[in-house]
């Protein structure tokens, strides 16, 4: 166990490792894994954004994948119209990342504003259910977009977005672009959660009534963090579309929201480093559990690795709820890490 005041050093180490990762993979002769690494980095952005809600504010949102979908579809639809040379509501399509990615983030934030404004009127289980329902609504909306492939989704035939001075179709460049996004979002969340705003969020998680009685309206604070989280997930969605050069409704399937929640819990909720670690473990398990079973000669489990993963998940929830973060770090003082019930 490491004391928590070394968190900064550990974070720096993780960052250094992420910076060197493509080179290490290249030297080790498994450069095909750089794409997997990029996937992990992108997923980590989405996981951190969800943790702002679940871990920091105590809002269990079960529809977070919806914003992934919004971000991805903005990029996809713009690319589609650029390829077809048609217009969308009078606007030209574009491949430019300087337009598409900020637009994806802005639109996700807008959708989060609407969904949040309605959902945050409810509490507890009703909140879980209403966010799940909004997620489903967007899922069916994307399914019904026949011109954009409907159920099957659409390919981005022109490849990834273009950026000045960079070629995102080159995998090293793309990885570092995603990593830069992750670092920027991480830094934003770092300052956000340490600010007065961050302490307000924590107060909402612990006792909303008390906060109201000292004169702070929880609703607007919750709405703001919901919008920020939605924007973060939108960014991740835009990058996901670029990563696979493919957009489909499956991005917003409710099991994706479940996956995101699993990652947050696995890593340790209420921390920023936790979701990053959780993403690593989750996606590596997804990638290598089948390979592992294959090597052990268990063909049946190789294809059905979820059969093993499900019970592992249940055990983690029941017995190891502090997540990876709680296993690595020893808490400085009572309630500081915020990943156990400290109400």
């Amino acid at each position: 166990m490491i004391r928590e005041h070394h968190l900064g050093k550990v974070t720096a180490l993780v960052l250094l490792w992420l910076l060197l990762l493509p080179w290490i993979l290249d030297i080790a002769g498994s450069s095909y894994l750089i794409s997997t690494a990029a996937r992990i980095v992108i997923f980590a952005i989405a996981a951190i954004s969800l943790d702002l809600l679940i871990g920091y504010t105590g809002l269990v949102s079960f529809g977070h994948a919806a914003f992934l979908g919004v971000g991805a579809y903005v990029v996809g639809i713009l690319s589609f119209h650029a390829y077809e040379e048609t217009t969308f509501l009078g606007l030209n399509g574009t491949l430019s990342g300087l337009v598409a990615i900020p637009l994806a983030v802005a639109l996700s934030a807008l959708v989060a504003l609407v969904i949040g404004a309605l959902s945050l009127r409810t509490k507890g289980v009703y909140f879980i259910m209403i966010t799940l329902s909004f997620g489903q609504m967007l899922f069916f909306l994307f399914v019904s977009l026949e011109p954009y492939g409907g159920d099957d989704g659409m390919m981005m035939f022109d490849g990834r977005n273009t950026m000045p001075l960079m070629d995102l179709n080159e995998r090293f460049t793309f990885y570092y672009f995603c990593l830069a996004c992750l670092v920027a979002f991480y830094a934003l969340c770092h300052f956000l959660t340490r600010s007065k705003f961050g302490r307000t969020l924590k107060a909402i998680r612990q006792n909303e009534g008390r906060l109201t009685s000292i004169g702070i309206k929880p609703y607007s604070v919750k709405l703001l963090i919901f919008v920020i989280a939605g924007a973060g997930a939108g960014l991740a969605g835009a990058l996901m579309a670029n990563h696979t050069e493919f957009v489909s409704p499956s991005l917003t399937h409710w099991t994706k929201s479940g996956d995101l929640m699993i990652v947050v819990i696995l890593g340790g909720m209420g921390t920023l480093l936790g979701p990053v670690l959780g993403t690593f473990v989750f996606l590596l398990l997804e990638e290598f559990l089948p390979v592992g079973f294959d090597m052990l000669g268990m063909d049946l489990l190789k294809e059905h690795w979820r059969f093993v993963f499900g019970p592992i998940l249940i055990l983690i929830i029941l017995y190891a709820k502090t997540g990876l973060y709680g296993m690595i770090f020893q808490k400085n003082e009572k309630g500081e890490a915020g990943n156990v019930e400290d109400q």
């Binding site: 009703y126 609504m137 019904s144 026949e146 929640m261 699993i262 059905h304 249940i314 029941l318």
Partner: protein, 307 residues
Amino acid sequence: MSHLVFEQLLNGVQLGMFLFLVAAGLTLVFGFMDVINLAHGSLFMIGAYGMALFAGLTGSFFLGLLLCLPVVALCALIIEYLVIRPLYNRDHLDQVLATFGLILFINEGTTMLFGRMPLFLNVPDLLSGSVAITDSFSYPLYRIMIIAMGIMVALILWFVIVRTRTGMRIRAGTTNREIVEALGVNLDALNTTIFVVGALFAGFAGAMAGPLSSVEVGMGDHLLILCFVCIVIGGIGSIRGALVGALAVGIFDTMGRAFLPDLLGKIMDPASASGIGAGLSSMSIYLLMVLVLIFRPTGLFPVARSE
């Protein structure tokens, strides 16, 4: 035209009864034990697969039903003991995730046992055919039977909960567990009973669903989300709410699916109208729920709880 509307209305009621059978267990488990069980839909699926297996083995629909229900009850007992029981005093997030893990396990296990190909069941001879409701309109007997079963279950539940001692305990436990426990009621036993009974309703619905739709992995998951919508509309913990919510969702969904594409076809080209219409009608249920929650944040028939 009016026959078509009436037929779709009956289809909506029949879907509503299915939803009610699954939602009733869900709302009881939630209201009484304060547990969100995402794996409730898996019990529906287990019922359907059990039916497909046993009806195939015995060659008889009714023997299949008789054999599959104990299997569902057994699965429910195991699930309650191993996973749900440790979750009683945990927060909702833990319950959602642990039962999500359960879904992964059950879905994947079912795929391993039965493969990915959907299975199909036939309507039993005794229940095939239609009933003439008016001279020119008839409706399949099997679907009428499902509606009747749903009404029967609703009546039984109403009777048990409102008129019996057990029902009194259930109602009291929903309002305040600690006091009921302090009065000497064995809540653990009651928990298990409620969970298994709820599971049996879901399993029964699954078994009956076999002949109407294909039996496939994940069939319970989509239905489960619909059931959540039903009980949230109705107010969590309320059986009456579950019934109203289920009927509303069933009718809304069926009517939307049947008539929206045609209506949209009048204002846009038919090809895209069918896609958008299908999407809109799927979305309409969730829209209904959002509307209800905006005006009644705890559903139509809120259950009093002391926290």
